[in-house]
């Protein structure tokens, strides 16, 4: 077992910095600390980097630098960044749990042995960390789903789930940005556009930020022009 973190070359344009084999909060804090250190002290030739659950990918231009130089610079940052990351911002996301927007709420209530309101209140009580983006543009994986509403993924994906779906599976929550098939349980809909496409901040929240959900009514949704 190699000592963590490890730096692995990826073709001639990447270094994968791995902190753990499975997700755990301590390793993710170190990933966020490295993420912040990279933005404060850019490495020459590095074009972008991608924080994820157990590792962080550094992408570079092979005409400007190489693995050796990038790995050395990353290891130097790791020595300096081996501290708790600065906490991010808290982003409040509106969500409507009313029936037409929450096709799987009844099933989640049944699985967890709770009432609909019990599931809603448990979801609202969660304190969510933005762990990573993946799968599709603006799909942010939020950790911190309360154990009381743990449900596994469905055995088959449901097609045509609309953008803005607030859904849960395992220990994670996600607000979709596109109409896509999904095997997650849809328990509400948000009118908030998570994927903005702005050049400096293309998403409403970033890895390392916290998310809180705020309940709104179907009338509020209608006022914002969102219909089932």
């Amino acid at each position: 077992m190699p000592r963590m973190p490890t730096c692995t070359p990826v073709a001639d344009y990447g270094v994968l910095v791995t902190f753990a084999d499975m997700f755990e909060a301590g390793a993710h804090a170190r990933i966020r600390a490295l993420d912040q250190a990279l933005s404060h002290a850019p490495i020459e030739g590095v074009t972008e980097w991608v924080p994820a659950l157990v590792n962080l990918m550094v992408v570079f231009d092979p005409l400007q630098t190489d693995h050796g130089a990038v790995t050395q610079a990353v290891e130097h940052l790791l020595l300096e960044a081996d501290v708790a990351p600065t906490s991010g911002q808290t982003c409040v996301i509106d969500v409507c749990y009313d029936a037409p927007f929450a096709p799987d709420l009844a099933a989640v209530a049944k699985t967890t042995g709770m009432s609909r309101d019990g599931v809603i209140n448990a979801h609202l009580s969660g304190d969510y960390d933005v762990l990573m983006f993946g799968f599709a543009p603006g799909y942010g994986y939020l950790g911190g789903v309360p154990d009381a509403i743990y449900v596994p993924r469905k055995s088959a994906a449901v097609p045509g789930v609309p953008a803005g779906a607030v859904m849960i599976a395992d220990r994670q929550c996600l607000v979709t940005t596109l109409t896509m098939p999904t095997g997650w349980s849809v328990i509400g809909r948000s009118p908030t556009q998570i994927l903005t496409g702005a050049a400096d901040a293309p998403t409403a929240f970033q890895v390392g930020d916290r998310v809180q959900f705020n309940r709104i009514s179907a009338d509020d949704m209608a006022r914002q022009g969102v219909t089932p």
């Binding site: 692995t8 070359p9 990826v10 073709a11 001639d12 344009y13 990447g14 994968l16 499975m22 997700f23 074009t47 972008e48 980097w49 991608v50 924080p51 994820a52 659950l53 157990v54 590792n55 962080l56 990918m57 992408v59 092979p62 005409l63 190489d66 693995h67 050796g68 990573m132 983006f133 993946g134 799968f135 599709a136 543009p137 603006g138 799909y139 942010g140 994986y141 596109l178 994927l195 496409g197 702005a198 050049a199 293309p202 998403t203 890895v207």
Partner: protein
Amino acid sequence: MTAQLEVVAAGPLISLQDAGRRGGLRYGISPSGPMDPDAFAAAHAALGNAAGSTAVEVSLGGITLKGQAAPMTLALTGGAFEVDHAGTKTSTPQVLTLRPGETLSLRAGARGSWAYIAVAGAFEAASWMDSTATQTVTGLGGAMITTGTRLTVIDPQVRPDRIGFLPDPPAAQGPIRVVMGPQDHHFTAAARQTFLEGAFSVSPAYDRMGMRLNGPRLTPNGALSIPSEPVLRGAVQVSGDGVPTVLMADHQSTGGYPKIATVVSADWGRLAQHRADDTLQFEALPAQEAFALARAHHASQMAYHEALAMPRGSLADRLMRENLIHGRTDDVID
């Protein structure tokens, strides 16, 4: 001043692309950009355009365009595509001028999967996150091009000195070069050997997201549960049933399958030009040699661009130049 290209007929997966979108991976946004970055860059070099300008990427499905409003010079590069310009049949790579009312068709020829159309002027294209590259899965940025699309060309120009057939790009043959990993340790030595010695072919499941391969199975080493992690273009990811897929320009930004190897940047374009049923093999390079290869590839592309930038001019000009090169100026008939 603008001109238009009316799309009379278009196959699937034809889109506007610039050099690609940087900085999006951390937000789940793939880089997109051209499937064959070398042919894309050559099209712009042949016209003297700024590198990375917006071009039309044509798929095997082919395209038929009709010029409108003003003449414009176009560069056509990429896999050996057949060209029909107002009834005259030739092939890529070349530069020609399309006049209003004339029709231009590109169709799949002997080989290659992707062709590029660059214009002297600029294609009008929607920028999203500072890039006009079309992400074909979501439709974000640029535009998908379908029958009936009207492409607007801003400031169309005619460049008589650029017209003519272009020299072929530097030849590249042999196995597709990879650096092993980052998860080759999830495979047995036998599976790694099979990957490097086996013959694979491109399956019909090939689009801008990925290229699934037919061939020997590469069964991962025991039960696998890799947490979803960042992936890059060129990654050879192996699904649970042992089937490898090479990730291409519109790949998902993360994935949970082990990656046995990653294709080096120098071979992205060459790999992308393979078609369904084309065969291919992989060869592993040490990471350090991959940099030397990247730099050598860049140098050969730059030399090719210099050759493309030489004015081609009129037939008399070209005869003169070729005779000068061969030291036979006395043969020139005035």
